[in-house]
Amino acid sequence: MTMTTRSDVPERTNVGATVVLEQLRRRFGATQALDGFSITLAPGELVALLGPSGCGKTTALRVLAGFETIDSGRVLLDGVDQTRIPAQKRDMGMVFQSYSLFPNMTARDNVAFGLRMRKVAAARRSERASELLELVGLEGQADKYPHQMSGGQQQRVALARALAIEPRVLLLDEPLSALDAKVRVQLREQIRVLQTRLKITTLFVTHDQEEALSMADRVCVMRAGRIEQIDTPSVLYAAPATPFVAEFVGTMNRIPGTISDGRVSLLGTTVDVRTPAGAADQHRATGTPVDVLVRPEGLQVTAQPGGHGIVMTTTFLGSVTRLGVLLDEDVMVYVDQPNSAVQVPVGSAAEVTLTERDVMVADRTSPALSSASDSGVSEPAPTQQQKASS
């Protein structure tokens, strides 16, 4: 794949539009898809809507595109109400999750389609389509039909097609989800480079947290039609506002603990309870069982005969190695160890300790079967050697 570098992409002087979605409500039967959803996108900003299936992120995007009606609320573009304006008049480029190229047209005709609808002269259409195809590194594929191109190429043509009309807002509806991992990473970098240079306000829907965190200026975590938190990726990861966000973004361990004089006891130590900024201080009585939320890098593991855990899995993740440790009461936790640290082999007894001074707690929701929650990383099954070594 030919990657477009920052210097290849022409700068655009006019920036994207300001988008305001105000108190959107939409109900489908018994499901409240959007429940007072409000968000503002600054010109040229890329915001990712992240959340589990059914949280309303695609509905919000489709409302902005004009494909979905709302029960109440407003959609504003540069202060102008777009709520009643049909999709074809909104000037928004969209890249869809499924391959959406018109099968009866070549790549060039696909890219030129929007210009044709705008009655642009044939010569100018062709010229502009060639420019856009060059921008996405597909200048040699202009005369190919969609069925002659790979999935990644098709999505790049779809991106070029969306950009050809110089949209005021770019809408990306999980455009990478149908692609294989390598192409996905390449294409997301390319989309980000193009979006930054062209300064198009972009709303990006994804259920892949890695995509959202790596591409977006701000990430909006949604749940049941509402916003749980909207922040920069680093703040979202380091200071989640709610236990839901904490568990949804990145890998998070749930370790049983007990409240003790406003603090929490776990793993043989007692630490402060962290209250997220803006959240009400929630007092819990001493002795209340809670789940403590700790990231893998907030724990440390050391080999110790007679320790309270046993190392079950090890997964090499590049800069760190992730150990899966089974604690008392069948609690599985994941611990990230620097590769330079002394490695604890699978099957060894070990002691897990907390390295953080304050932690986030959540109500105990499940019996002592909880384990690390992670929507992005899966733990591999142990090898025969690992099993044997236990």
């Binding site: 494909f67 869809f96 389609f113 609808m117 069925h147 002659q148 098709q154 089974l326």
Partner: protein, 285 residues
Amino acid sequence: MVTVVEFDAIFPQEQPLRRPAITDRLRGVAWWRGVVLVLTGVFFLVPIYAAFRFAIGTVTGGLSDSAFTSIPHQQGFGDAFSLSARLALVTTIITLGLMVPTTVFVHLRFPGLRRVFDGITIIPIVIPPVVLIVGVLQVMPTFLKSTPYLLALEYSVLAMPFVYRSLDAGLRAIDLKTLVEASRSLGGRWASTLWRVVVPNLRTGLLSATVLTVALVLGEYTMASLDSYQTVPVWIVFFDSQNAHVSVAVSLVALMGTWVILLLISSFDLRRIRRSTLLRKDTTA
């Protein structure tokens, strides 16, 4: 205290699956498939052969192609063929003009109503044509009763089940919603979306619908006869009493014509399937 965990209990050993060889599976079914194929072939081909043998037979027991070569010169055939051809054209235009937007609309906006439409479009098959024509003649205004194009309206109703199913199958084969939304997001109005995006990707369905409509018009007898218009089928029955050999020859030519068109459509569809296979290979590569 450390809980002892059995690894095999957590990660049970996967059992390899055995898939029967293709030859094993084919061996079991090949023989009866062959029998069914031969029986079906005999069932269809024997009457056609008998008709052909009759058409080329002479009273003296010899063989002659005069029944076929004389078709264009038979009295009334040209008019009947011309009427049938015009009716086929008008019926196709009316049927597709009504059914394409309707079927697309149902697929896009009311996919839950597809079953209801299935039921509605079957009605012309359930009700005998003779009943339909009696009803039509009762309610139609005089100016329509006096033109043969009344038949085109009646045939549109008769063709509805076949056309709907052809279009329905064609629309199911494409991601209609995404294509329409992509077109609209790029500024396409409904008419341009239908004409430039939907119709070109519905070619196979449209061809099937057209062929079935044309075949129906060329073969329909009851309505044309009761309306007193001499279409090709009516002419064949009428001419049968004068020259049965020519009458049978015309039937055979009509049959072969329809068959050739169906073959063309099948080969067109085959190319589309090959293209889809290529696409799958490309995208997984």
